[in-house]
Subunit: 263 residues, 4 copies
């Protein structure tokens, strides 16, 4: 018998399923889904305030309408008579460097700013140097600017929630990823470019300051967006004719009218 | 220009993304991920107590260790050098009738019990008849009994949370799916069979009583388990050698020791 | 150590790979790909004439332009920065009941005609009865009629090749699937409907007469079309900008002009 | 109306489907599947000898038993009740850098040897330098050596067929990829290492000498192996119990005994 191979995620015993040491039956009703995701991906159960921040990140990415490639791929596959899991899997396959990948890409740029600033002292100088490095490679820094959303309220909201979570009270590392993000905005502005940080960049900064591995950040987007993909695949299955031509632009929203959240 | 095609899920405008009428920036920090999922899948924002119930259902399904086919498929693909989304998609493809599908399957059986009971009056008689119908078709009723978990604490916990949410205070429909589930347990017991409802069956009963379409229930499992699949795929990418033979049985847990949730 | 599990497909030994008993190194250059596919899927190496027929079936399904859902799904995923295998997998996920599935669907209808004709004698009566059965279920018989191709030359070509292969010389079973297909055409015509058998129906008839299991027929389409999906995914990767909106209708062909095969 | 987007692969008109300019109905029965694949992937219909070479390459990769990750992923998904396309898609997702990717990887190394040799004259020196370059990067050159097959008859067979196809009669480019492959073998030998070219390396050399883009070579493997994946998925669906634990090592072959190809 060869050595058993190890995993540090979940222990299964009769009548007990424990994620990272915590019994799932105990977590149910006491930990939010965001806390459970944080526990799974980082190994630690966060305090509720950080849990709310993770929930907010998941909610921010839960759907972006019918035109992202993931929604179109899921609908295209659903329109052939596919099962729900088959359609959702096709949608997940569209989450890559150019769709959902800006979070990880931005985290790498922020890490590089932090690395240089720690060695050489000034975060604004470091940001300028990273912009030059990317330019020399012919690459754009992901997470700044947006085609459609020029002042995305999701970004402001996320930073406000990060403050409420005291994420930056306890920050002992200097500069933080948030400092690096702000420095990049200023360095862009000094070159006459208005590239405000967008929601992907904001998520990258917050997750980096929370200690997330950049290589798993795309996973958070996959988890969140899988909810939107289920909704699109199911709507396609139940409301639309099979094998229709799905126009990627010419569609209209006919759901509930705008309504305010009274909380 | 042909007619635009309709979708009732999300409206995208510059600087505004609204799911089922609610601005996502408003939802962030004010609605939990479970509430956002409920909003996406049913069209309505639930009250927080129901949101906690959805969160509890998502938490209950977040992972089940390394041996379910979805985890093995995700790891097998990750071990070839695949990206995270590629590995997770392979895992999602394994969520089907025999894995994750018991929720939808049980919901159909519970619906059938309710349908007969409404016509003919007695829920226990209806349950007995549904057991006979399945038997005549050579099928088992999904959601009852479990190979490994004979007294799954997740089941009891979910029903307790459903009670806390006053889900059954307001129930005007009679019998509820929970009544149907209990009737099936009793009808099995009358035949000398101990087939207690398992966690999949409990989820089916609660979701049916919350008004969910059985055809979307598998989607809730996909959303929840995508978190576990990200964790397994990333652990495989970062901790294990490429192209290893992944034994589906002979493995060991080496994560954090058992710890209590102090809340 | 538990019992080893059995497979009847391929035996691997040092310096020898044998498919259904034949050394692959011997097959290379001596058996066509069509013969190898037939060997894999049925267990027997066909004579070269049948091999040419399988090759012709594979060639007939190799691509159908940019608008089938499989090509659109593969391109949509490729446009996000996906790898080739990731894009092709998304395309394969779109091969289902409504796309590629007509072959298997038609084979079931032809089998039903044969079954009735063997019991009751007349194939035309049997065909009429099967049309009625499908109508009563609210279903159309797949493999007859076509939205775009009213007189598909691929159909005539395939039946001509089947004759050349003496497929119907040796036919001892009566009626053949080809007989059943012709009977269905006549039965439709008697009701005033011009539903000629299409290329999917012709493939179904030939494969059924060759002894294929209907449940594997979709697989032949998957194998053939994977070639087209590779071509579309690679063209998208190398020729088109990332994240473009892929219109499912409004496109143009700019490849080599029409050219004749001089053979 | 925006500009139509261009594709150079297939033109669809009523009653005519033309791949790269050739009517598919004309190709059926006159061009082999290998020729059709070459036409799709390179844009040109090859002469029959080159077509046989492509067929031989496809046949060489058609299956490698039950233990490669692609077969295991397809079987794992099939065991949950998945459809054929769903199971095959999961298998395709496992074809990546470490599984099937050696062909493209080797092609890059051979191209580098050719590039240096053209600049500096001697192919053996160029091979030695490329080995040093890979070593400095901590990488192995793919396509040389094999864990299981030390003298793979598929390799010798493929080179023999390439000679029969007069592939190297007409070679005007010097050195060829085959020259580069032989030079790498000698350069390894001079360092005391027996790393003979394996079947992946041989395929890479032949495809490179046929003018294939290295970025599409993985696609040829996907096309070929999709046949094996269909066979494994269908065997799992029809012969094995649902949700079984699929041991990646402990299995046995119980198909037809060894048989000789009499041709």
């Amino acid at each position: 018998m060869p050595e058993p191979w190890p995993t540090a995620i979940t222990k299964i015993e009769p009548n007990r399923v424990a994620v990272r040491g915590y019994d799932i039956a105990d977590l149910m009703g006491r930990a939010s889904f965001g806390e459970a995701v944080h526990l799974l991906l980082t190994g630690d159960l966060p305090d509720p305030a950080v849990g709310r921040l993770i929930d907010a990140i998941l909610v921010s990415s839960v759907d972006h309408g019918a035109t992202p490639p993931s929604a179109l791929a899921a609908r295209t596959v659903a329109s052939t008579g596919a099962s729900l899991s088959q359609a959702v899997a096709a949608g997940v396959l569209a989450i890559n460097e150019s769709h959902g990948g800006a979070i990880e890409g931005c985290a790498h740029a922020l890490s590089r700013v932090i690395e240089i600033a720690r060695l050489e002292g000034d975060v604004l100088d470091a940001a300028a140097r990273v912009i030059d490095e990317y330019k020399a490679d012919g690459r754009r820094i992901p997470g700044f600017g947006h085609r459609l959303h020029t002042a995305d309220p999701r970004t402001a909201r996320l930073f406000a929630l990060a403050n409420e979570a005291d994420l930056y009270e306890e920050a002992d590392a200097t500069p933080t990823a948030l400092d690096a993000a702000r420095a990049l905005e200023r360095a862009f502005a000094q070159r006459g470019k208005a590239f405000p940080i967008n929601v992907d960049g904001a998520i990258a900064a917050v997750l980096l300051d929370l200690g997330y591995d950049p290589g798993v950040m795309n996973g958070l987007f996959i988890i969140a967006r899988s909810a939107g993909l289920v909704a699109h695949a199911r709507e396609e299955q139940t409301r639309m004719p099979r094998m229709r031509r799905i126009d990627p632009v010419n569609h209209t929203y006919d759901g509930p009218p705008d309504r305010r959240l009274e909380r």
